[in-house]
Every structure is written in structure tokens, then in C-alpha cells.
């Protein structure tokens, strides 16, 4: 039972990564149709990932940190090169 669980969880995780081939995808859809707990597991894992992404706020590189970086590298003269 534990092994079967693990196989199903792996399938669900890989689906969230879009790493599934067509056969595995069909297998997953069958699992989700027939098992309520698998469906709940799938939805809550998906929601977990979504919440973690939404909670993540990328920051702009602060100007003072950028300045110190270029000074450390000895590249101040080309700080604005793009």
C-alpha cells in the first residue's frame, strides 16, 4: 500500500512539473478520477506550490549593494554597461 501511495504521489508531483509523458498523464487522470484522496492530495500540493510562489517577492538589487559589487570586482568604470 505504501509503495502504491508513493507511486501515485510521484506521478502527481511529476504532473505538476509537466514532466509526464502521455501514458503517465492518462494514468494520473484515471487515478484522480477514481480516488478522492488522491484528488485532494493533488489539489493541496498544487495550492501549496502556488502559495509559496505568491509569497515570494523578488527584490530589485539595491543600488548600494550593486555599487559595492562593482567596487569589489574592480569594474566601477563599467557599472552601467548593458
Amino acid at each position: 500500500m505504501a509503495k502504491k501511495n508513493q507511486d501515485q504521489l510521484k506521478l502527481i508531483s511529476e504532473h505538476l512539473c509537466d514532466d509526464l509523458d502521455a501514458d503517465a498523464c492518462k494514468e494520473l487522470i484515471d487515478v484522480l478520477k477514481t480516488s478522492k484522496d488522491c484528488r485532494v492530495y493533488f489539489d493541496t500540493v498544487k495550492k501549496t506550490v502556488v502559495l509559496c510562489r505568491e509569497n515570494d517577492c523578488p527584490e530589485d538589487l539595491p543600488e548600494d549593494i550593486n555599487q559595492r559589487l562593482f567596487e569589489t570586482l574592480g569594474l566601477e568604470k563599467y557599472k552601467n554597461a548593458h
Binding site: L9, D19, S35, V40, C52, N55, P58, L75, K77
Partner: protein
């Protein structure tokens, strides 16, 4: 100019070309370090260390991986090394005790449709941060690269120098652990609200 040309020029000592590469990736490296370490000063240390290494070892970059994954590998290794040195609450890492083989698919509570759950709530944000913070380093790195940064399985495997299968396994473990942590919290909230 193509990135490969910029890299070639930088390899030959062209400082302007090197600066273009620094400007192209500094923000992403800083944010990656910030995600792993959750500390701005340490993220700056990793940023400097990463690009000092890039400058010193660029001649060794052979183009087998993309330049981006090469830079990310340096940054990730440095950040994980610092994380290990800090040895923060090692013994208390909940994920050390987490056994993914024990995940039961029985009577699961579906909190995914609860409209009150969102990241504008500070307590929810704190809970998410705490859960990520308590992930084991090797799971945390994969989770950040794959699910937060959006790297492909292949890119993450190149950055971490592990197989793609290992990336998938670690990502599964990370998601299982995070789902459990958030489920415990949200289920408790649901019970509190309903009864």
C-alpha cells in the same frame, strides 16, 4: 551581441563585457541567495563571492552547460555552504524527522478551495516561510530552483550537479513536507472556524 561573444570577450579580459555579464545576472543571483539564506547581508556576501569566482574561473567555463546554470551553480553552492556553516537549529529541523514513506492518502482534508487562505495574511506568510525554512538543505535547494525560480528539471540538475531523477525525487519530498506543514496549519484553522 550574442551572449557567447560577450563571454569570449570577457574571457580575454574585456572588462566591459564582464560588466555586462555581471549586470545581466546580479539581480537573479542576489534573489536566489536571499531565498536560500533569508538574510540581506549574507545574500550580498554570496553575490560578491559568486562574481569574484566568475571573474577568476571564467576561463574554465567550457559552454557544456549554459552560462546561466554555471553562474547559478556557483551561487547555489556558496549559499548552501554558508547555510551549513551557520548550522541554524540543525537539531530542530522538522524535515529531518519527516518520513515520506509514511504519507497516508486517507481521509485528507481539502483546504485548497478555502477562499480565506491567501498570502496577504501575515500569519499565513509566516507559516509558509517557517515551513520552507525547516526544509532540509538539499530539498530546499531543489524546491527553490524548480518551484520558485521556475528552472526546468534539467537546468536544476545542472545547477546542483545531480541527476534529473534525483531532482524529481527531492522535489517530491520537498512538496510532501511543505504540503504536510501547511495542511496541519490550515486544517486546524478550518476546524477552528467550523467548530
Amino acid at each position: 551581441m550574442e551572449e557567447s561573444e560577450i563571454i569570449e570577450k570577457a574571457k580575454q579580459g574585456d572588462q566591459q563585457a564582464m560588466s555586462i555579464l555581471v549586470n545581466r545576472y546580479s539581480k537573479r543571483v542576489y534573489n536566489l541567495a536571499l531565498r536560500i539564506l533569508r538574510n540581506r547581508e549574507e545574500a550580498e556576501d554570496i553575490l560578491q563571492e559568486t562574481f569574484l569566482t566568475v571573474v577568476a574561473k571564467l576561463h574554465m567555463f567550457d559552454g557544456r552547460s549554459s552560462f546561466f546554470t554555471w553562474v547559478y551553480r556557483i551561487a547555489t553552492n556558496s549559499a548552501l555552504m554558508l547555510l551549513r556553516k551557520k548550522k541554524i537549529r540543525r537539531a530542530n529541523f522538522k524535515s529531518n524527522d519527516f518520513d515520506p514513506e509514511q504519507v497516508e492518502l486517507n481521509n485528507l482534508v481539502d483546504w485548497s478551495q478555502d477562499p480565506t487562505i491567501d498570502v496577504s495574511n501575515k500569519e499565513t506568510r509566516d507559516k509558509i516561510n517557517e515551513a520552507i525554512e525547516t526544509l532540509k538543505d538539499k530539498y530546499k535547494a531543489v524546491f527553490i530552483l524548480r518551484d520558485i525560480e521556475g528552472l526546468s528539471t534539467r537546468e536544476a540538475s545542472e545547477v546542483l550537479n545531480i541527476t534529473e531523477e534525483n531532482v524529481k525525487i527531492r522535489l517530491l519530498r520537498a512538496r510532501q513536507f511543505l504540503r504536510k506543514e501547511l495542511s496541519d496549519y490550515f486544517e486546524e484553522r478550518l476546524v477552528g472556524t467550523n467548530g
